[in-house]
């Protein structure tokens, strides 16, 4: 009787293990053969022309380049037990979301981006020009104060670190705006507009040729 029970348990374990194995193999077969996402190297774009939309003469003295990285994240949690159950089941039947469905941390959706950006500080001379004041013994150049001129957040510097659930473009854009704000705030915290003054002076001194004493002043 005891032997019979042990045998039955053994059979049950074996059967469960086989079912588990089939489910596991099925998942990987789907991942391998049907999954839509492709590796970067597999992407070959169709040839399309590059259109020049505008050519503009600008005049900017760029004196400080700040390269920053920001992590931006947004999470939504399930509100009820029913939602957890339904949501997890939905994820379990979607091969792309399968691994997120196995989690029991109550996360409904999560999107995390790691963004690399470049901030350029300097002076826009199209808006405010130099002033040359020539005195008998000195040449005074009055220039505007440096400011943030551009923020570059490019696709090459964008990494989708976690994508749990379905996300729309406007939601991704919201995170990118957040990353941009974070970088600008870091630049302000590091007093970069102020620090951009010294290289601006250096660049000007390398250009100016005068026998007089050169004085560079920043506008108030």
């Amino acid at each position: 009787m005891k032997l019979q029970k042990i045998k039955e348990i053994q059979t049950l374990i074996i059967r469960l293990a086989i079912i588990g194995l089939i489910a596991f193999a099925g998942y990987w077969v789907y991942q391998l053969f049907f999954k839509g996402s492709s590796g970067e190297d597999e992407i070959i774009l169709d040839e399309t022309p590059l259109k020049v939309e505008q050519i503009r003469s600008i005049l900017e003295l760029n004196t400080l380049k700040f390269q920053d990285e920001a992590v931006v994240d947004t999470v939504e949690y399930y509100k009820t037990g029913n939602e957890v159950l339904l949501g997890s089941l939905n994820k379990l039947i979607d091969p792309d979301q399968f691994k997120h469905g196995l989690k029991a941390d109550g996360t409904k959706r999560r999107l995390t981006l790691i963004m690399k950006g470049e901030l350029l500080y300097g002076v826009d001379l199209k808006r405010k020009d130099f002033q040359f004041i020539s005195k008998p013994d000195s040449l005074i150049i009055v220039i505007p104060k440096p400011e943030l001129l551009s923020v570059s957040l490019n696709p090459k510097g964008t990494e989708v670190y976690i994508e749990n659930g379905d996300w729309q473009d406007y939601e991704r854009l919201y995170l990118q705006r957040k990353a941009r704000k974070k970088m600008i705030a870091t630049g302000d915290r590091l007093k970069l507009p102020e620090r951009a003054k010294a290289p601006l002076e250096k660049a000007l001194r390398s250009l100016v040729r005068t026998d007089k004493k050169l004085i560079i002043k920043f506008e108030e």
């Binding site: 996402s37 590059l50 004196t63």
Partner: protein, 185 residues
């Protein structure tokens, strides 16, 4: 079952979001003189491998803003000479100063998914856009961005020195074969 629970446990690890405080500050001395606004349609027809049933198509539109100019920091003392009211300057080679693909100006125009293929995720789109950026940077070499930047820099320097009281300003350009062709900014 054992395998499944092992798999579940390994997938159930808490996803830690990396906290970063990585930055680099670099002094530069570039004079940007030209800005190009470029538009491109990024088109990918993902037919997949023979064993993937169905195909997917995506069209994304984007804009890139490219600034070009000259690096004033590379001007040496010997590059500028003064004789009375005449100044002669050897202009540094023009270069790309910045490249910006504003996320605000990127749009998914169309997607089409057939068969058993899954829809485009944000990760898929990010990878397609990265390829699009590469393509724009490559095509940039065919445009006259650098010539335009050099021409405008010359105009600026002539005005700049005339404002300082010089009557004649002679600007020599760098031969085209000595230009920096690296556009990875």
């Amino acid at each position: 079952m054992i395998l499944l629970s092992f798999f579940a446990a390994s997938c159930g690890e808490k996803e830690e979001v990396p906290e970063t405080e990585v930055y680099q500050i670099r002094s530069v001395g570039t004079l940007s003189t030209t800005e190009y606004t470029l538009g491109k349609i990024i088109k990918w027809n993902d037919e997949g491998e023979w064993y993937k049933f169905g195909d997917r198509k995506i069209l994304l539109s984007c804009k890139a803003r490219v600034k070009a100019g000259i690096n004033l920091n590379t001007i040496k003392d010997s590059d500028i000479s003064v004789k009375g009211k005449t100044i002669t300057i050897q202009l540094p080679p023009p270069e790309i100063v910045s490249f910006e693909m504003d996320p605000e100006l990127i749009r998914t125009e169309m997607t089409e998914v057939n068969g058993f293929r899954s829809d485009f995720s944000q990760e898929d789109k990010a990878k397609v856009l990265q390829k699009g950026e590469e393509s724009i940077r490559k095509d940039l070499k065919k445009l006259n961005v650098l010539d335009e930047a050099e021409r405008n820099a010359k105009t600026f320097l002539i005005d700049f020195y005339k404002n300082q009281g010089f009557e004649q300003v002679i600007v020599h350009e760098t031969p085209k074969d000595k230009r920096n062709t690296n556009l990875d900014h």
